[in-house]
């Protein structure tokens, strides 16, 4: 069953008391609070696919991978792993991967006994689509770790874009978002503003301003989402760099 609430995340820049999901989880430690539970779930929900893909690449077939992923999450959500792995605590991504590796080495055998469908499933995950996406993506993968990072980045970006979209919809600017979305990645002068302006019934200057605002908001959301997975919000740039590094062949 999914949980309704998610952990609060106040991340206004310069806020001394800024907390991210991950810092909340780390702060809670072994003694879980509803907040830390919610934060952890939120994180897991966002980033489960890279884990699944990793497990698949590890050589397991579809069914086994599903089992393992579920089992891992079950263990993980019991917070058994927070005690060790101190070096990776700064980043949730690294932590998750390290925990998964640990799990795959040590606990796989133990959890194999658990039958498919047995035990509680705290998260409902879309296995079907996961499989599809996995197949599409499984071409010329250099290393599982690299692929993990890549998928992680995709999951992150998806989350960010979705948030951005929701915000625009809430402001009644759904159509605007749909049209201007493409400008997020376009370089200067690559796409013509005139066409879009005509479609939206706005003048070019207004379009430019809207694009600028959208980009700015996107950046803020991106940084916020990345920060959610970090213990120190100042590491955002580094994390961004590392994620980008996963895409350079």
């Amino acid at each position: 069953m999914t949980s309704e609430h998610s952990a609060p995340a106040s991340t206004s820049p310069g806020d001394i008391f800024a907390t991210t999901h991950w810092t909340v989880v780390l702060a809670a430690g072994k003694r879980s609070t509803p907040q830390s539970d919610g934060a952890l779930e939120e994180l897991c929900r966002t980033y489960w696919f890279p884990l699944y893909a990793y497990v698949r690449r590890h050589g397991h077939n579809k069914e086994d991978a599903e089992d393992l992923t579920q089992a891992f999450f079950a263990r993980f959500l019991e917070k058994n792993y927070l005690a060790g792995l101190s070096a990776e605590r700064g980043r949730f991504r690294a932590f998750l991967l390290a925990s998964l590796k640990h799990f795959l080495i040590n606990d796989w055998k133990k959890s194999q006994r658990q039958k498919r469908g047995g035990g509680e499933m705290p998260l409902s995950l879309d296995w079907r689509t996961a499989d599809t996406i996995f197949h599409i993506a499984a071409v010329n993968e250099p290393s599982p770790d690299r692929a993990f990072d890549r998928e992680w980045a995709l999951a992150l970006l998806t989350k960010v874009i979705e948030r951005l979209q929701k915000e625009c919809e809430a402001d009644g600017k759904a159509k605007l978002f749909g049209q201007l979305k493409i400008f997020l990645t376009a370089g200067k002068g690559e796409l013509s503003h005139a066409e879009v302006a005509k479609k939206l019934g706005m003048d070019e200057t207004a379009v430019r301003v809207a694009i600028h605002r959208l980009r700015k908001r996107y950046r803020e959301l991106l940084r916020d989402e990345i920060a959610q997975t970090l213990a120190d919000a100042a590491d955002v740039d580094e994390e961004m760099r590392a994620l980008f590094g996963a895409f350079s062949a």
Partner: protein
């Protein structure tokens, strides 16, 4: 809720036109993740939130650049560098790796500066200074450069293949003073334990000629055992070039208005270049950063000390720490003296600060209440006698020595007769004589020593006038004597006054007056020059005085020349007849104050041979033969004469005929009206002169 929305799958193999990354499906349809991430990292020209000017490379990247190190973690970063904890694999020791931002190498002079300064720093081997093990530059190149070089508006991220300048330093396992200050005020006891250690470190560096220039709490580290280590020596000079100013604070900067400091904390940002908080900069460092010396460190130490004791930074009006916190009042003095605005008034050596602090620590005042401490203070003042301005002792000793001069002369008079042969008294007399003879030299030397002492004390000693007097008295006297001798020789050479048996008091007086005036002028000038030099005041009027003196000398020379050449009118030129029939007739006189040419005719009758010469009779009735070489031997009959002299002296001039045995029998006076009237009063010898008109 599902995180992955089902969507129509995109055809396989579609790639981003910009970067070639395969395009994903789902919500990110049409958007390239790589480009999105790039876009996410780009910054607008307007800063969004707080972004550090320098993004330190991640651990993995550094590990590639420094293969001999195992990079453990990032321990600090700021605008001007990042510090990592690392392990030297071969030596198996923990070190600190500090890297400077890549843009720093753009300045061509930087590399040279870097090498030079770093070599000097590497020589600083002291337990209180963070030792520098290695330094240099390493190249770097990575995928990162592609990421960042393609940014449209990036100005802060790195560029491809730039060398990274690094330092490998001692790793200090502990905290820095800033962290301690942020945690809470340090107790005075702790502060007094920390400061002497800082002094040791600083003094060591100063002795090597290295000034830190950036002393602040962030640079003072304390290890787990409480030992102080000063870090980042001289780095400011390397980074900032000739104008070695302080570097920006690493780690979290102070929020404005923190701790109620009256001096606002400034952090000036300028497109990638950050200046540090100037709170620790000495005034001279702010005004002329390139010309500071080691005393700037003393000022910064004073600020840090103040902050440790009171928790605040000293404001415009510095309140003594003891008025804010319960501490020993004697510390006020130390802190305030270190915080003097003029470097000359501060402690001149850091070791002095340490000595003062240790003295205060080791001599407890009993209680730290102000009233009791006041008496303590005055006691210390009498003991140390450094804080109250006092008269220079050297100068006084000089005067006492000079007093030996008259004393020695008086001693025989003062000793009672019966004691005169007492061996003690005789010894005493010998000592006195010794002092007497050495007094001039001794007094002079002491005077000069006193001058330098008073100058160095910067206000603590006074009595410069006496010291200068002592230093100049005998030398000037000697100079005057020399001058007199010179004037004499000079005067004789130019016939200003006579030598030999004709020398008399008038000329004595002349010579003395001349010498007196000249020596007075020169002495005054010398005293003035020396006085100004001793007091180090910038006298822009020196030129004027020099010109005035030279003008005076020129005028004096002119005067003397005029004296020589000034024409004197002769009112009486005449002829005379004498009882025996001889006669002399003066036809022309050409005369200046010092020279005379007389022309005329004579007629010798009464004798076969005689002599004719020019004489001047002086007021004492001494007849002066003006020029023995011009004595004419005449025989009876008529003739012309032309006599001259350049030895005109005051008196009555006359041309006289006289016999070989010296008896004058005919002579004619000539001269001015004044001289004539004087002669008439005298009226001896019966010579008469006839007025011309």
């Amino acid at each position: 809720m599902d995180t992955v929305k089902s969507n129509q799958p995109m055809p396989e193999g579609s790639k981003c036109p910009q970067c070639g990354t395969p395009l994903p499906t789902g919500a990110l349809a049409g958007l390239c993740p790589a480009c999105l991430l790039k876009a996410g990292a780009a910054a607008d020209t307007v800063t969004e939130g707080r972004q550090p000017a320098f993004n330190p490379p991640p651990v993995a990247e550094l590990a590639a650049i420094f293969p001999q190190l195992e990079i453990l973690e990032l321990i600090g970063k700021g605008g001007m560098g990042a510090v990592y904890k690392a392990r030297q694999k071969q030596l198996d020791r923990i070190v600190a790796l500090k890297i400077l931002p890549p843009g720093i190498g753009d300045d061509p002079a930087f590399a040279e500066r870097f090498a030079r300064e770093a070599k000097a720093l590497a020589k600083l081997n002291h337990p209180g200074i963070v030792t520098l093990y290695e330094f240099g530059s390493s190249g770097r190149e990575s995928a990162q450069t592609k990421f960042e070089s393609s940014q449209a508006s990036q100005s802060r991220l790195t560029s491809a293949a730039t060398p990274i300048y690094f330092f490998l330093m001692e790793f200090v396992d502990g905290v820095n003073l800033r962290q301690l200050l942020n945690a809470g005020r340090i107790s005075p006891r702790e502060a007094l334990a920390i400061v002497p250690q800082i002094c040791d470190a600083l003094q060591f560096a100063h002795d090597q000629g290295i000034v830190h220039r950036d002393i602040k709490p962030e640079n003072i580290l304390l290890d787990r055992r409480g030992r102080v280590k000063v870090a980042d020596f001289g780095l400011a000079k390397i980074v900032e070039g000739g104008a070695g100013g302080p570097l920006p604070a690493e780690g979290r900067p102070l929020e404005a208005g923190a701790r109620g400091a009256t001096c606002p904390t400034l952090e000036l940002t300028d497109a990638g270049k950050t200046m540090g908080t100037p709170n620790y900069m000495s005034p001279e460092q702010i005004v002329a950063p390139g010309e500071v010396d080691h005393r700037a460190d003393i000022y910064a130490l004073g600020v840090v000390f103040y902050q440790m004791l009171t928790g605040e930074l000293p404001g415009q009006k510095i309140e003594p720490p003891s008025s804010k916190v319960q501490i020993d009042v004697r510390l006020d003095e130390v802190v305030l003296r270190a915080l003097e605005k003029k470097p000359a008034l501060r402690y001149q050596q850091v070791s002095e600060v340490k000595t003062c602090v240790e003295t205060i620590v080791s001599t407890p005042s009993g209680s730290s209440r102000r009233e009791e401490a006041q008496t303590e203070k005055s006691e210390i003042r009498n003991r140390k006698s450094e804080s109250v301005p006092r008269f220079s002792r050297m100068a006084i000793v000089g005067v006492i020595w000079a007093a030996m001069l008259p004393l020695r002369q008086l001693q025989p008079l003062l000793t009672p007769a019966d004691l005169r042969h007492n061996p003690l008294v005789e010894i005493f007399a010998v000592c006195l004589a010794f002092l007497f003879w050495t007094a001039p030299l001794g007094m002079t030397i002491l005077g000069w020593i006193a001058v330098t002492q008073i100058r160095r004390s910067a206000g603590k000693l006074y009595g410069m006038w006496l010291a200068v007097f002592e230093g100049l008295l005998f030398p000037l006297l000697a100079l005057d004597v020399l001058l007199g001798w010179l004037m004499f020789v000079f005067g004789v050479a130019f016939h200003f006054w006579l030598s030999g048996p004709n020398y008399d008091q008038a000329h004595n007086a002349q010579w003395f007056l001349a010498t007196f005036i000249v020596s007075l002028g020169i002495d005054y000038w010398i005293v003035r020059v020396v006085w100004r030099a001793a007091n180090k005041t910038k006298d822009t009027n020196m030129k004027k005085y020099t010109i005035a003196t030279i003008t005076a000398l020129c005028l004096a020379a002119l005067f003397l020349a005029a004296n020589y050449y000034w024409p004197v009118k002769s009112d009486y030129i005449g002829e005379s007849s004498f009882p025996k029939g001889d006669s002399i007739k003066i036809t022309s006189v050409s005369r200046t104050k010092k020279q005379m040419v007389v022309k005329g005719q004579f007629n010798l009758v009464s004798a076969d041979n005689a002599k004719l010469a020019l004489f001047i009779t002086m007021p004492q009735d001494v007849m002066v033969l003006t020029d023995p070489k011009q004595v004419m031997e005449i025989s009876s009959g008529q003739g012309n004469f032309e006599l001259s002299t350049s030895h005109v002296v005051p008196g009555w001039s006359h041309v006289t005929m006289y016999s070989t045995n010296g008896t004058g029998f005919a002579g004619v006076y000539f001269g001015t009206k004044q001289e004539a009237s004087e002669e008439r009063e005298r009226d001896s010898g019966g010579y008469r002169s006839t007025p011309v008109k």
